[in-house]
């Protein structure tokens, strides 16, 4: 395990170009009197796969939502490609090259897989005749094949198994042609084989230049995939480093691994 | 000084009547997530049930009061069982269906009785001097009965098992199922209680303004305003809301223009929906 982790660590240095893709600076998010995220700062480098780890309720989703613009941060800044994007609406984030998946899937249950994906290719213009006669279908099919939904193109989302839904979420995000992809709990409920094939997909996409932040509360599968990890608990950063360092870290073990099955 | 006392009295009586209508409406919303437009039909039914008792059967007005409680209660339960229950998961269809029931009820009585307004005898004659103001005994009785009903509903919901079941259903349908609350019985009870309250209001409006085929819509709309103001599903909220709307209405009608009945209330409600969708006493978490 440790050996494995350090290997991925060295891999990181070869992949990452060292340029900062996303920088989160002193992010704070409060709901009423509750502080969900407290003074959180970190950065993500280009072509890196960053693991974002923490127990349930640690503030991972809130941080995600603040980066993506679903929530407006109470204070702090989010810089994406050297541009201040703090609090922009999610659709603007997507236009700037960010994309996300949802842990609780948000499929469009009324249409098939291809049409779900091709929505990401529609232009944000009101008056358009495109789509009347097909159009973006081929590209969408290409993306579906890419994520392994080639056999399920014309199924509706409710016909897809759990793993298929995750792939659909990914396909929709990838179809927006993002530079940075935020992935929310991709491995929840997956078998080892499925985790492996999904990890390979992430690696391939990274090779092509995509940057990833992968959230999970469970370290299973994640440690083999990521280059670097950030661990938060109660909304604050408690550790940062290579996967091998993270598993050794005492604070992490105490606050987080204690009750978990690792 | 006397004028203000008169105004306050009027506002109190009107508010109590509005509260009767609003409580039933909000209870149905709270427990079954239904906007029951047929609630207006229960008002009309109550008015006419009393009217027929007195006019056609020659009974005393007190038998009329009983009829105005029982008939609309049965009517409301039937509306739920026959029309709403099969489609209750679909909010839009429920609204359309209950509007149709309201329209059908209105036109039914219009067909039979025509468009003129029928007179109901007063509950009591004479008037009482309350020091600063003299009030008709009839109005005092309306006020007292309205409040007895309101308090009775409060006690029913807070002190009886079936009432607690209704309360719990409105907070968490699944939680209620887990502790063994029977949803079907609770919902029917709620419709019955709501129907009785609305029928009572119908009788009271009938006593003070006459019974007519279109007497249901206006109080129903004002109940909307009250319920939005007080927060959907909250009984306490709707009593408070009724007093705000009732006072506002009394003031505008008396001081500005009697044709403004309802307009101000509805206007205020529009603003509230936009500014504070959950109302002043609403519980968050419905939609956000």
């Amino acid at each position: 395990m440790t050996v494995n982790a350090s290997e991925t660590g060295t891999e990181a240095s070869t992949h990452s170009t060292g340029e900062i893709a996303l920088e989160v600076d002193s992010l704070v998010k409060q709901f009423g009197g509750l502080t969900a995220v407290e003074d959180l700062s970190f950065e993500v480098y280009n072509q890196e796969i960053l693991g974002f780890i923490g127990p349930n309720g640690a503030g991972k989703s809130t941080t995600f939502n603040c980066i993506f613009g679903t929530y407006k941060p109470t204070s702090g800044a989010v810089t994406f490609n050297d541009e201040d994007v703090t609090g922009l609406a999610p659709y603007r984030m997507v236009r700037k090259g960010m994309a996300r998946t949802f842990q609780t899937f948000r499929p469009l249950p009324d249409r098939d897989v291809v049409s779900n994906v091709s929505l990401s290719m529609a232009s944000n213009k009101l008056f358009t005749l495109s789509g009347l006669f097909g159009g973006t279908q081929e590209e969408a099919i290409e993306v579906c094949r890419r994520v392994g939904l080639g056999d399920d193109l014309y199924k509706t989302p409710d016909e897809l198994p759990h793993a298929g839904m995750i792939r659909l979420e990914l396909a929709r995000a990838i179809a927006t042609d993002p530079e940075l992809l935020l992935v929310d709990e991709p491995f929840a409920g997956l078998s080892d084989n499925e985790i492996e094939s999904l990890s390979e997909l992430f690696q391939d996409l990274r090779e092509e230049g995509m940057t990833f932040i992968v959230v999970d509360h469970n370290m299973r599968g994640l440690l083999d995939l990521i280059d670097r990890a950030i661990v938060i608990n109660f909304g604050s950063l408690i550790a940062e480093g290579l996967p091998s360092e993270i598993t050794q870290d005492e604070t992490v073990q105490e606050a987080y691994l204690g009750g978990e099955e690792i | 000084m006397v004028d203000i006392a008169q105004l306050v009295t009027n506002a109190l009586v009107l508010s109590a009547l509005y509260a009767l209508v609003a409580i039933g409406f909000t209870m149905i919303f709270g427990i079954a997530d239904i906007l029951n437009m047929a609630h207006g039909a229960a008002i009309v039914t109550g008015g006419f049930a009393a009217f027929y008792m007195v006019d056609a059967l020659g009974m005393s007005i007190w038998v009329g009061v009983l009829a105005a409680l029982v008939v609309p209660a049965i009517f409301s339960i039937l509306v739920y069982r026959v029309f709403v229950k099969p489609i209750e998961d679909d909010q839009i269809i429920v609204i359309i269906t209950t509007i149709l029931i309201l329209l059908m009820t209105e036109h039914f009585f219009r067909q039979i009785e025509g468009t003129r307004s029928q007179v109901l005898p007063l509950l009591a004659s004479g008037s009482t001097d309350l020091g600063v103001v003299t009030v008709q005994n009839n109005r005092i009785l309306l006020f007292v009965f309205a409040w007895i009903s309101i308090i009775a509903v409060f006690l029913f919901v807070n002190r009886t098992w079936i009432g607690r079941g209704i309360e719990s259903l409105s907070m968490s349908p699944r939680g209620a199922a887990l502790v063994g609350v029977d949803r079907n019985i609770s919902t029917m009870t709620t419709f019955g209680v709501a129907g009785a309250l609305a029928g009572m209001a119908g009788l009271f409006f009938g006593v003070s303004q006459g019974v007519s085929w279109d007497m249901g819509l206006d109080p129903l709309l004002i109940a909307f305003a009250i319920v939005i103001l007080g927060g959907m599903g909250s009984i306490k909220g709707s009593v408070i809301g009724a007093h705000i709307v009732g006072s506002l209405e009394t003031v505008t009608v008396t001081m500005i223009d009697s044709r403004l009945t309802g307009v101000v209330a509805l206007g205020v409600m529009l603003l509230i929906i936009v500014a504070r969708p959950h109302g002043l006493y609403g519980r968050p978490g419905e939609t956000e």
């Binding site: 409710d158 016909e159 | 607690r164 968490s172 699944r174 939680g175 887990l178 609350v181």
Partner: protein
């Protein structure tokens, strides 16, 4: 603990909950497929498995929340043929993963509601619950929605106990809780077991399940892959590798 459990199992050979060839689907997705599970009176049975394996679906189905094919009976009677309120009166109590508390009722009112169909003594049950979770007594006038996740979990279990359960279904009692609170819940759990209540426990936390259960069913993708007595299952290679991290 282990002697306790063997005593309990010989004592009651009566089947209390039994599913055979049970299948449940949501639209076109099958959530449970041909599941057979038997719970004897007095037993502690645990359903384990990853997220989305169908554990909650099984619990929901037992309580009559879902339509199903095949058969599932409580005390010999088909669940689908009974009103839910009836199941509750018969002592089948379900403590859900989402807790489903009454958010705007106080702690005590929530507990009162728990006794809605109970035939047992209200005061006794209340004392037992307050003994079990002293923290609930401290906060009895607080509204449920203002409490922390762990306290809500305690309240949910407490409310379930107020119903004087013959059989208790507990869905993921430790999910998302801090280790300290998991410890509290675990201790309370042991006390409930001593009361002789039959329990069906669904858990992702395999260690917790192995600690408390007599019998284990492993559910994956809606089917039972393994089942057996807890001690056996603890030694099982597959379970060790997959769920206990080797």
């Amino acid at each position: 603990m282990s002697t306790d459990s063997s005593e309990r199992m010989t004592e009651g050979a009566e089947t209390i909950l039994s599913a055979s060839d049970l299948s449940v689907s949501y639209g076109k997705v099958t959530a449970l497929k041909d599941v057979d599970i038997t719970v004897q009176k007095g037993e502690i049975v645990s359903l384990i498995g990853p997220n989305g394996a169908g554990k909650t679906t099984f619990a929901d189905t037992s309580m009559g929340f879902l339509d199903y094919e095949g058969s599932i009976t409580y005390r010999g009677e088909e669940v689908a043929d009974q009103r839910q309120s009836n199941l509750v009166s018969e002592g089948l109590i379900y403590c859900t993963e989402d807790r489903d508390l009454f958010p705007f009722m106080t702690v005590e009112e929530n507990l009162q509601m728990g006794a809605f169909r109970s035939r047992g003594s209200y005061e006794e049950s209340l004392d037992f619950v307050y003994d079990l979770f002293p923290r609930l007594e401290e906060r009895k006038t607080q509204e449920a929605h203002t409490m922390s996740g762990g306290e809500q979990q305690m309240l949910a279990i407490g409310r379930a106990l107020m119903g004087d359960p013959e059989m208790l279904i507990i869905d993921e009692p430790t999910l998302g809780l801090a280790p300290v609170i998991v410890q509290d819940i675990s201790e309370a759990f042991d006390q409930i077991v001593e009361e002789g209540v039959t329990i069906l426990l669904t858990e992702q936390n395999v260690i917790f399940a192995l600690d408390h259960a007599d019998k284990i069913y492993l559910l994956e993708n809606g089917s039972i892959v393994k089942s057996g007595v807890a001690e056996e299952m603890q030694g099982d290679d597959y379970i060790r590798e997959t769920y206990l991290g080797g």
